[in-house]
Symmetry: C2
Subunit: 125 residues, 2 copies
């Protein structure tokens, strides 16, 4: 297996893996990245409509987080009413293949995982 992912007693809070998963692993980031990957460029309210169940607050918070990590580019058009467009950056696009791989794995394994969960519940009843 070669190089160690992390050494024992290392400060795990600071390891890059956790740091990335902390962002990707929240409730909405991954969905937004996948959506932007499909649609290329979207306005705030377009994203909001596509992900009907997200609140305005969480959409704002998540987009800010993605922007601050340099995964999403935010373009403001200074007009009234305002217009803001979002799209993936190069860095965001470079993350995409891995997310798509995870997505595919999820689609392939979800029914088995659900069966495992139900079996587990039944045994530990």
């Amino acid at each position: 297996m070669g190089k160690k992912i992390f050494e024992k007693n290392e400060n795990i809070e600071n390891c890059p893996v956790r740091n990335v998963i902390d962002r990707i692993g929240d409730k909405w980031s991954m969905l937004i990245i996948l959506l932007l990957a499909e649609e290329q460029v979207l306005r705030f309210n377009e994203i909001h409509k596509c992900i009907g169940t997200i609140s305005q607050k969480m959409l704002t918070v998540t987009l800010k987080s993605l922007e601050s990590d340099g995964l999403v580019k935010r373009t403001v058009f200074p007009q009234i009413p305002p217009k803001v467009e979002y799209e993936l950056t190069h860095r965001g696009k470079s993350l995409l293949p891995h997310l798509l791989a995870l997505t595919e794995w999820a689609n392939n394994n979800m029914s088995d995982i659900k069966a495992s969960r139900e079996q587990y519940e039944k045994v530990n009843a």
Copy 2:
């Protein structure tokens, strides 16, 4: 880009991607999977020592979750004092390449991401 990841107004809570990320995205699951991938088989307290900062409770909870999803196999040796071993299942191992890919991406991009965050903070001061 071909097939849609998710259709608009689809029930996002039930999509496989989110369902997987919900597990992987918690505080400890991914670390435990990576650790088991390296060490093959570990006892409860061995994992605990390797991940010094995890509480006993969260280790139990996380291992149960991974076991119920069929990603980790739990073997109890009926002896006193008890001995329990944990290892990845085939399904768990099949997830591994994607996690390693994410890990590598994280290592390659972390310094740039940190720089972006600091830059973002500076601009929005």
